[in-house]
């Protein structure tokens, strides 16, 4: 963990998108988690993406409505 290359907020958005197509490497996952943990802006943004993907799934008939 200590050798992690820090990533930027912009980098996290790429990883969040890429993760929809492929499994992130363990280094990428660790870098993403470490960044989000310390970055309030990214906590907000990743929550937004989470809600977006969950609601999109419901909109497209992947799971039931509440």
């Amino acid at each position: 963990m200590s050798h992690q290359v820090p990533i930027t907020c912009k980098d996290t958005t790429w990883l969040v998108s890429d993760a929809r197509e492929r499994e992130l490497t363990s280094e990428e996952k660790a870098a993403l988690t470490a960044h989000i943990e310390h970055c309030e802006l990214c906590q907000g943004a990743s929550k937004q993406f989470e809600v977006l993907f969950r609601q999109l799934g419901m909109f497209l008939g992947k799971s039931g409505s509440p």
Binding site: T8, D18, E21, A45, K47, Q48, L52, G57, P66
Partner: protein, 193 residues
């Protein structure tokens, strides 16, 4: 299921036609194909609606039927030639449009409002309406690629072949689509709760 339930469902299916057509059109970007897919989905639904169990909403159920009809059409079609208009493709691949969202050092330039999931059916209907409008704002290439992945669940390779772009280009197109959707919802959805 008694007679009045049945006729209610038939009526309800008819009221959802526009929504189904709109989604098919976003995916296919061809009116007559979207019309065909919608028609076939509705016919299939009318034939089997007695089997509809209320575990999901009627709309969700119809969308899952439509998905198969759209997949049939896409797979039967000859794959498109690669995007021939280079200027168009370059535009699709331009991620500098998001530069203003970030500082020079790659940090978000503004705090993000905390979203929460819609709390009620009414709120969710509202959310879906905005989501649909935001999807419509995507470019034809972006919405097709995005829905192939997120709705039809085509593999990235098949999506590349259908859209006629490299996997590197697809990655950028999907990134742009997701960033645009988040941004669009952020502007339009009043998520104070």
């Amino acid at each position: 299921m008694n007679h009045s339930d049945t006729s209610n469902i038939v009526d309800e299916i008819a009221t959802l036609r526009d929504a189904l057509f709109h989604l098919a059109l976003l995916q296919l970007r061809n009116k007559s194909e979207a019309e065909d897919a919608t028609q076939e989905a509705i016919l299939a639904a009318l034939e089997s609606h007695t089997g509809f169990e209320h575990r999901s909403s009627l709309k969700t159920w119809l969308i899952s039927i439509l998905r198969f009809k759209v997949l049939d059409i896409i797979r039967a079609k000859k794959r498109l030639l690669p995007v021939s208009n280079m200027a168009k493709l370059e535009e699709e691949l331009d991620v500098t449009v998001f530069d203003s969202l970030f500082e020079e050092n790659g940090c978000w330039s503004a705090p993000k409002d905390a979203w929460s999931d819609p709390h009620s059916h009414v709120e969710q209907v509202q959310f879906f309406k905005i989501l649909e409008a935001c999807l419509t704002n995507l470019s034809p290439t972006a919405s097709r690629a995005f829905l192939m992945r997120e709705w039809l669940e085509l593999s990235p390779d098949e999506t590349c072949a259908q859209i006629g772009v490299s996997s590197g280009n697809l990655r950028v197109i999907l990134y742009r689509a997701r960033m645009q959707l988040r941004h669009c919802l952020d502007l339009k959805w009043d998520r104070n709760a």
